[in-house]
C-alpha cells in the first residue's frame, strides 16, 4: 500500500456548513447536546466572523499571538488576580498556614503562662515579651524572622506553580490559553500579596492578643528605651516590612524553583535549604564582607530600629541585597518558564 500521505486527498474538503442538521445522529442522552450545538455558533460562527476574517490575506492588523481568539477572549483578561486568588484561597495549605500563623502568638502566651516566670537571664526580647501587646508582637517577629517567615514565604511563592504542575492543571491553563508571562505574573502577585497578608496576620494577632493579655503598654526595647504606642507601632510596622523585603530573596528563589519543578516540596524545600546554607556560610568569619551578600546576613538588621536613633544603614543594605536577589530570581523564572516545554 502506498503511503497515503504522499497523495493529495481524494476526499472533497468539507465546506463550512454551519449548523448542519445533526438529527440523524441523535440518540438517547445527547438530545440536549444536539440542541446546544445547534445553537452554538450564534455570535461566533465557527470559522466565520471577525476573528477568522482577520486571518485572511490582508487581515494582519493584529499580532499573530493575539489573533484568532474566541469572542470575548483577550489575553489581558486571562487568569486575573481574582481568578488566581480563587484557585489558591480554598486550598487546604492556605487554610492550615493561616491557622498556624494565628496560633503561634497563642502558643507563645501559653508558654509564658506555663513558665515559672524565671527571668533571671537577661533583659532581652524574651523577658520583655510580656510587657504589653507591642512587645509581644516584637518578640513574635524576633522568633519568626529566622525561619518561620522565610518558610511561609517560600511556601506561598514556590507552591502555586509547582502544585498546578503536579495536578496537571498547568497545561490546561496554558491552552486556555493563559499566556505564560501572564500566568507567572498573576501567580507571583498573588503569592507576594498573600505573603504580606500572612506576616501581617501574624503580627496583628500577636499585637491584639498581647494587648488583651498584657495590656496596651508602650514598647520597651532591650536597650531600655521606651517608645510610646504610636511610635512603637510605627517602628514595628517598618520592622515587619523590612522582614518581608529581606525574605523576598527566598520567595523569589522558591518561585524560580517552582517554575522548574513539578513537586511543591522541591520548591519549598530548596528555599529552606538556601536559608540553612546561607546561615551556615554566614558563620564563617573568613568570608568577611562577602557575607553581606548572603540573604540571611542582614535578616536581623531590623533590630536596629528599636533604639532611639534607628540604624538605617544595615536595613538599607539588607533590603537592596534582598531585592537584588529577588529580581534576579524572578527574572530567571520568567525567562526559563517562557521557553519551557510543559510536559506535566
Amino acid at each position: 500500500m502506498s503511503d497515503p500521505s504522499q497523495q493529495p486527498s481524494r476526499q472533497p474538503s468539507p465546506r463550512h456548513e454551519g449548523a448542519s442538521p445533526g438529527a440523524r445522529h441523535a440518540s438517547g442522552g445527547t438530545d440536549e447536546l444536539e440542541h446546544a450545538l445547534g445553537s452554538a455558533p450564534t455570535g461566533a460562527e465557527p470559522g466565520g466572523g471577525a476573528d477568522a476574517a482577520g486571518a485572511r490575506p490582508g487581515g494582519r492588523r493584529r499580532g499573530p499571538a493575539s489573533a484568532g481568539g474566541a469572542q470575548g477572549y483577550a489575553p489581558r483578561r486571562t487568569l486575573t488576580l481574582r481568578a488566581e486568588a480563587a484557585r489558591q484561597v480554598t486550598r487546604r495549605r492556605t487554610v492550615v498556614t493561616a491557622v498556624l500563623l494565628a496560633l503561634l502568638p497563642v502558643l507563645l502566651v501559653g508558654a509564658f503562662a506555663l513558665g515559672d516566670g524565671d527571668t533571671s537571664g537577661a533583659p532581652d526580647f524574651v523577658q520583655l515579651a510580656t510587657e504589653g501587646g507591642a512587645n509581644l508582637a516584637l518578640f513574635t517577629l524576633f522568633v519568626a524572622t529566622g525561619f518561620l517567615i522565610p518558610l511561609v514565604v517560600a511556601l506561598l511563592c514556590g507552591d502555586p506553580l509547582s502544585s498546578e504542575a503536579s495536578w496537571s492543571s498547568l497545561r490546561y491553563l496554558l491552552v486556555s490559553p493563559v499566556p505564560r508571562r501572564r500566568l507567572l505574573r498573576s501567580k507571583l502577585v498573588v503569592a507576594l500579596v498573600s505573603s504580606v497578608i500572612a506576616v501581617a496576620e501574624l503580627m496583628v494577632v500577636a499585637y491584639l492578643l498581647g494587648t488583651l493579655v498584657y495590656g496596651a503598654d508602650p514598647l520597651v526595647s532591650p536597650g531600655g528605651d521606651a517608645f510610646d504606642l504610636g511610635e512603637g507601632l510605627w517602628r514595628l510596622g517598618v520592622a515587619t516590612a523590612y522582614v518581608l523585603v529581606s525574605t523576598a530573596a527566598f520567595g523569589g528563589f522558591a518561585f524560580l524553583v517552582g517554575t522548574r519543578s513539578d513537586a511543591p516540596l522541591a520548591a519549598v524545600g530548596s528555599a529552606v535549604l538556601l536559608v540553612v546554607i546561607s546561615t551556615v556560610l554566614d558563620q564563617i568569619q573568613a568570608l568577611g564582607d562577602l557575607r553581606e551578600a548572603l540573604p540571611t546576613h542582614f535578616q536581623y538588621a531590623w533590630v536596629g530600629l528599636f533604639q532611639p536613633d534607628p540604624a538605617w544603614d544595615d536595613l538599607l543594605t539588607g533590603s537592596l541585597w534582598a531585592l537584588l536577589w529577588a529580581v534576579v530570581a524572578i527574572r530567571l523564572a520568567f525567562w526559563s518558564f517562557g521557553r519551557k516545554d510543559v510536559l506535566s
Binding site: P14, R15, S20, A26, G59, G68, Y172, G224, D341
Partner: protein
C-alpha cells in the same frame, strides 16, 4: 600604667622578625587588622633594633630597643615625625593601628617597646630620667639622622611625642628635657606619681582651676592598684625574702622593686620610693616644657584622676605654655582605647597636624572640652552587656561611638592662665545638714567599703549598676544631705567641703565622695570615685578642722535630687589603719552655714556632638543601588527583546504554504473558503539525543470531521498533540488553527478545547468549581461557558458538588472532557478520552463527538481502541515511529488496496431498506448498515445509504441487488480498520 583595656585585650600582632638597622620595608603582621583604612593598611613598616644605655646591674650587656618606623609609601619628601609611646603592660604593637593611621596622615611614626617591655631588653625603671627618658632622646637622635624626617635644624627633627598613661608621662618628661620636641600629647597620666599613688586630697590653695587638688603627705596608699601594677611586671612579695630576690622582681628594676614591695607591705610610701617616684614625675620638668601640650584625662579613673591633669595644666598655663585639656569619659577604670586617648583620638590627630605640619589651628577646637556622661546609657550598657548570651542572635545595641554625646566646651582651661585666660567656673555653695556622726574604723580594716575595682574597665559599669550600696557600710560612714535641688546642677570638677574631725588616735584616714540621691531612687556614686584624706598629728579627742577635696567628676545632679556627702572610714582599694579607732565627723560651721562648694559648668557651653553619623542621615550603599538598577533595567530591556523573538517565531501564517504532504482538507486552503480548524504542517520533535520522536507529521482536520489519531505506543501521538497545543516547542514545522499559527499562549488556542494525557483538576475544588475556575482563567464572559450543557455531557449528577479528590477515574475523565468542551470550541482535541469509561459511557461519548463535529466543529481524538475509532471517526491518521503512514477518510482507508473480501463488500444503493431485505436472503450473508461517516454531500441523493455485506462474494451481492431492481451506485471491498492498521504499522 595603662592596663590592657578593651583595645589592648586584642592579642598584639606578632613582632616582626629580627631585622638589622638597614632593613628595608617589612610588611607588618598586623597590616590586615580590622578597622584600618586602606591607606593605613598600606603603610610601610620598618623594624629596627636600636642600642641604648645598659642596665646598671649588667653594665656590659647592651640593651636594644625594639623599634618600628611607619611611613606611608611614595615620595622622598621629609615629613614631620611622631614618637608614639605605649602604656604599662603592653608593647609597641599595641600602638600599631594608631601608628598606621598617623603615618597615613603624612607623618613618620616611630613606636618602640620601652625597656622591660615586649621584645626590648632591660628592666622597668618607671620612666626614670636616666633610662626611659634617655632612651627616648636616643630615638629622637635616630629620627634626626633619617633622610625622610623633616628637620628644624641639623640634628633637630620636627617631632612630637604622644602617649597614654606610662607613655603619657614619658611624653611630658621628654618634652621637658629635650628642646628638640615640638609638641607633646599625654593621656590619662600622672602629674606627681608619689601623690597619685598615695594621695591625700585637699584643695589646692590659691588655685582656681576646677579640679585643683593638692596631695599632701603622707597620703593613703592605693594598695590595690600598686599591688596589681607591681604584680603585673612579675614583682610579688615573697615570704622570707627581705630584699630584692631576683626572681620575685620580674622585669622591675631592683630599686623600684624593693621600694614597691616595701610600700605594699607597710601601706606607707617610704622615702626611697617617694624619691624614685618624684624623679619620674612630669611635675619636676614642667618648667622646661615650652611647646604646645595636649592633656587628656579620664573621668572614670581611680588611678590618675582629673586632678592630675589639672595640676599639670595649671602649672603649664601659669608659665604661659599653650595647653589644651580634654576630660574624656574613659580612663583606667573604663575605656582605654586609642592608647588612652579614647574619644579624644581625633583631637590628638588634629593637635599633631596643627603643631607639627600645617600650623593651622583646627577649626573650632576648644581649649577645654569635657564629655558629659549620660548615666542612663552607662547603666543600660552594663545591663545589656551582661544580658548578651553566647549563641543568641545579634542584638544591635547602641554603641557609645554612634550616639550623640554632650560635651562641655570652653575656649581655654577655666581658671588657668590668669586674667587673660578663661575665667574659672562658678563655685556654688550647696548647704548641707547633718549632726556629728560616729564613724568606726574597724581593726584590720575589714569589712571595707567597695567602690571601684582597679582597672576593671569592663566591670566598671557593672559596679555602677550596683549603685552606691556597697560604698556605704553601716557604722563606718557619715552622711550629710542637701535640700532638694531646684535645677539641674552640672558639676564639673572637684567639690570642696570643710569638716571637723575627731579621732581616738593621733591620725585619721577618711574617704569622701558626693552622691546623687534621686527623689525616691537609689543613691548614685558618680564614676565610683572616692577621695582619700589623711590627717596626722591629731590630739585624740580634740576636733580638728580640715578642708577636703571631693573626687573631681563631671556629673549632672538632676533637679529634685539631693546631694549627699559621704564620709567613710574604709575603702577596699586603699591601705587603711590596721588598729581600730573611732572618728567623729561633723560639718564645720564657724563662719557660715555648712555647705559643699561645687564647681558648676555653665549650661550654655554644653554642646551636643553627634557621633559617627556626623554627616547626617544614612550611608547609602551606592554600589548595590546601581547593581539593582542595572538588573531592573536589563529585565525591562530583555522582556521586549524576548517577546520580539517569540513574535518572530510566530510569524503570521495567513496563507499556509503547505507541501505535498497534506492529507485531508487541502482543497479548502487553496480556495477562498474559511481556513480549516487544524492544519498540522511538517511537525517534528527532535530530542537532544537525536531521537526524532515526531518526524514530519502533516495532516488536516476539516470542519465536521472527527479525526482519529492512531498508532502503536511510542508512535508520537501525544507529542504531536502537545505541539499542536503549544505546550511543547516543535523542532520543525508548525500548527495552524483556523489559519493562525499556534505558539505558546496564542489567542487562537481559545478556540481549542483539550483533554490531553489525563485530567488536570484542582483536587480541593468540586467538579463544578473546577469548571468555573477553568473558565474564569480564560477571562471570557461566564454566559459563553455553557456550563450547564457540558455538565449534561459529564453526567455526574450530584457528584459535581463534591471535591474532585474523591472522584473515580471515570468521573475525573468525564469532568475533564466537560472542561475541554467549555465554551464549545471549534476544535476539540482529546487524547485517549475513553480511558476509564465504561461501555455505556463510551457509547454516549461516541454520540457526543459525532454530534459535536456534525455542527460544523471538528474533533481530533487519539485512541488505541480501533473499533471505537472505526465507529466514531470520519477520518483517521495512522502514525508509526513519528511519521504518518496512512491517512484519509475511513472509507478510503478501509476500501482502498487489495481487499480479500474478508471485511465484506460495501455497496451504496438508492433504497437501503429494500437492499437490506434482498441481501438478507443470500445464504450466509450478514448485512449491516454502515455507520454514518461520509459527508451528506457525498451522497448522490437523499434516501441513499451504504450497506456492508459479509459472508458473500461481491458478484453475488451485485447480482442479487440488480435482480431486485435496486440501483447500485458503488461497490467496493471493505476491510476492517484493524486490518489496515496492522498492515501499515507493520505488526
Amino acid at each position: 600604667m595603662l592596663l590592657p583595656g578593651p583595645a589592648a585585650a586584642v592579642p598584639p600582632a606578632a613582632p616582626a622578625p629580627e631585622a638589622s638597622a638597614s632593613a628595608g620595608a617589612t610588611p607588618s603582621a598586623g597590616a590586615t587588622a580590622d578597622g584600618l583604612s586602606e591607606d593605613a593598611a598600606a603603610v610601610d613598616v620598618e623594624v629596627l633594633q636600636v642600642p641604648v644605655g645598659a642596665e646598671p646591674t649588667a653594665p656590659d650587656d647592651e640593651v636594644a630597643l625594639d623599634v618600628a618606623v611607619y611611613r606611608a609609601p611614595g615620595g622622598t619628601d621629609r615629613r614631620p615625625a611622631v614618637l608614639l609611646a605605649h602604656g604599662f603592660l603592653s608593647d609597641r604593637t599595641d600602638r600599631d593601628a594608631q601608628a598606621r593611621e598617623l603615618a597615613a596622615e603624612g607623618f613618620v611614626v616611630l613606636t618602640w617597646s620601652a625597656r622591660g617591655f615586649g621584645e626590648s631588653g632591660g628592666l622597668v625603671h618607671l620612666d626614670a630620667p636616666d633610662f626611659e627618658v634617655a632612651d627616648a632622646r636616643a630615638l629622637v637622635d635616630l629620627l634626626a639622622e633619617r633622610r625622610d624626617v623633616l628637620l628644624d635644624a641639623t640634628g633637630d627633627p620636627r617631632v612630637g611625642v604622644a602617649g597614654g598613661s606610662y607613655g603619657g608621662a614619658l611624653a611630658l618628661l621628654l618634652a621637658g628635657t629635650d628642646d628638640r620636641v615640638d609638641a607633646a600629647a599625654a593621656a590619662i597620666t600622672w602629674h606627681d606619681l608619689a601623690g597619685a599613688l598615695a594621695p591625700s586630697a585637699v584643695p589646692a590653695v590659691g588655685a582656681s582651676t576646677p579640679a585643683a587638688v593638692e596631695d599632701t603627705e603622707p597620703g593613703v596608699l592605693k594598695r590595690a592598684w600598686v599591688t596589681q601594677l607591681a604584680a603585673a611586671r612579675g614583682a610579688v612579695p615573697v615570704a622570707g625574702v627581705g630584699g630584692p630576690g631576683g626572681a620575685s622582681c620580674g622585669s622591675l628594676a631592683p630599686d623600684v622593686c624593693t621600694a614597691y614591695l616595701d610600700a605594699i607591705a607597710t601601706g606607707e610610701v617610704g622615702e626611697d620610693l617617694a624619691d624614685l617616684l618624684r624623679a619620674s614625675s612630669p611635675a619636676t620638668v614642667l618648667d622646661g616644657v615650652d611647646v604646645p601640650v595636649l592633656l587628656v584625662q579620664g573621668q572614670q579613673d581611680s588611678l590618675f584622676p582629673l586632678s592630675e591633669a589639672d595640676a599639670t595644666a595649671r602649672r603649664l598655663a601659669e608659665a604661659g605654655t599653650d595647653v589644651r585639656v580634654r576630660w574624656i569619659a574613659g580612663g583606667h577604670d573604663g575605656d582605654t582605647s586609642g592608647g588612652g586617648f579614647s574619644t579624644a583620638e581625633d583631637d590628638l590627630f588634629a593637635f599633631l597636624d596643627e603643631t607639627l605640619a600645617s600650623g593651622d589651628a583646627a577649626e573650632g577646637a576648644p581649649g577645654f572640652a569635657a564629655d558629659v556622661p549620660d548615666d542612663d546609657s552607662l547603666l543600660d550598657q552594663a545591663l545589656s552587656g551582661a544580658a548578651q548570651q553566647p549563641g543568641a542572635p545579634p542584638v544591635a545595641g547602641p554603641t557609645p561611638d554612634e550616639e550623640d554625646r554632650e560635651v562641655l566646651e570652653l575656649p581655654g582651661y577655666p581658671g588657668a592662665g590668669g586674667d587673660a585666660g578663661t575665667p574659672p567656673l562658678e563655685v556654688r555653695d550647696v548647704p548641707l545638714v547633718g549632726d556629728v556622726q560616729q564613724v568606726l574604723s574597724p581593726a584590720g580594716g575589714t569589712p571595707s567599703a567597695l567602690t571601684t575595682l582597679p582597672g576593671a574597665g569592663a566591670l566598671g559599669g557593672g559596679l555602677a549598676a550596683l549603685g552606691a550600696g556597697l560604698a556605704v557600710l553601716p557604722g563606718q560612714s557619715a552622711t550629710f544631705d542637701s535640700a532638694e535641688l531646684e535645677d539641674d546642677v552640672l558639676v564639673a570638677g572637684a567639690p570642696t567641703v570643710r569638716l571637723v574631725v575627731t579621732s581616738t588616735a593621733s591620725d585619721a584616714t577618711l574617704f569622701t565622695s558626693l552622691l546623687e540621691v534621686p527623689s525616691g531612687g537609689q543613691a548614685v556614686l558618680p564614676r565610683q570615685l572616692v577621695s582619700p584624706v589623711r590627717l596626722t598629728g591629731l590630739v585624740p579627742g580634740e576636733p580638728a578642722r580640715v578642708d577636703v577635696a571631693l573626687p573631681a567628676v563631671v556629673h549632672r545632679f538632676a533637679a529634685g535630687s539631693t546631694m549627699r556627702l559621704l564620709v567613710s572610714s574604709t575603702d577596699q582599694g586603699y591601705a587603711v589603719p590596721q588598729d581600730g579607732r573611732l572618728y567623729g565627723v561633723a560639718l564645720a560651721a564657724e563662719d557660715a552655714a555648712p555647705a559643699v562648694g561645687v564647681p558648676v559648668a555653665p549650661a550654655d557651653d554644653v554642646v551636643l556632638v553627634s557621633g559617627e553619623t556626623e554627616d547626617g542621615g544614612v550611608e547609602v550603599p551606592w554600589g548595590l543601588v546601581i547593581a539593582l538598577g542595572v538588573v531592573l533595567l536589563l529585565s525591562a530591556l530583555l522582556g521586549p527583546v524576548s517577546r520580539r523573538v517569540d513574535a518572530r517565531r510566530a510569524a503570521p501564517a495567513t496563507v499556509p504554504a503547505l507541501g505535498p504532504g497534506v492529507l485531508a482538507g487541502a482543497a479548502s486552503l487553496e480556495g477562498d473558503g474559511p481556513p480549516p480548524p487544524l492544519v498540522v504542517d511538517g511537525l517534528a520533535l527532535v530530542y537532544a539525543s537525536g531521537l526524532r520522536a515526531v518526524d514530519g507529521v502533516s495532516f488536516t482536520v476539516g470542519r465536521g470531521q472527527v479525526v482519529g489519531l492512531l498508532g502503536p505506543n511510542g508512535a508520537g501521538k501525544t507529542s504531536t498533540l502537545r505541539m499542536v497545543l503549544g505546550l511543547v516547542h516543535p523542532t520543525e514545522g508548525r500548527t495552524l488553527v483556523l489559519g493562525h499559527e499556534v505558539v505558546p499562549g496564542s489567542a487562537v488556542l481559545s478556540q481549542v478545547g483539550a483533554f490531553v494525557e489525563g485530567p488536570g483538576l484542582l483536587p480541593h475544588a468540586t467538579g463544578i468549581a473546577n469548571l468555573r475556575l477553568a473558565w474564569q482563567a480564560t477571562g471570557r464572559p461566564l454566559e459563553d461557558a455553557r456550563i450547564d450543557e457540558v455538565l449534561e455531557i459529564a453526567a455526574l449528577g450530584d457528584a459535581v458538588h463534591r471535591p474532585v479528590r474523591g472522584y473515580s477515574q471515570g468521573m475525573r475523565a468525564r469532568i475533564a472532557i466537560a472542561q475541554a468542551m467549555l465554551g464549545l470550541p471549534d476544535l476539540l482535541v482529546l487524547d485517549e478520552p475513553t480511558n476509564g469509561l465504561d461501555p455505556p459511557q463510551i457509547r454516549a461519548l461516541r454520540d457526543v463527538l459525532r454530534g459535536y463535529a456534525s455542527s460544523g466543529r471538528a474533533v481530533l481524538v487519539s485512541s488505541h481502541l480501533l473499533a471505537e475509532v472505526e465507529m466514531t471517526c470520519t477520518h483517521a491518521v495512522i502514525m508509526r515511529r513519528g511519521q504518518v503512514v496512512a491517512g484519509g477518510s475511513l472509507e478510503e482507508l478501509t476500501s482502498g488496496g487489495a481487499g480479500d473480501g474478508a471485511g465484506g463488500t460495501a455497496v451504496v444503493v438508492d433504497d437501503v431498506e429494500r437492499a437490506r431485505a434482498v441481501l438478507s436472503r443470500l445464504p450466509g450473508a450478514g448485512v449491516e448498515r454502515t455507520a454514518e461517516r461520509a459527508e451528506p454531500s457525498d451522497r448522490p441523493a437523499p434516501g441513499d445509504g451504504e450497506l456492508t455485506v459479509t459472508g458473500a462474494e461481491p458478484e453475488d451481492v451485485v447480482r442479487v441487488l440488480v435482480e431486485a431492481g435496486v440501483a447500485v451506485h458503488r461497490v467496493a471491498p471493505r476491510r476492517r480498520l484493524e486490518e489496515v492498521f496492522l498492515e501499515v504499522t507493520g505488526t
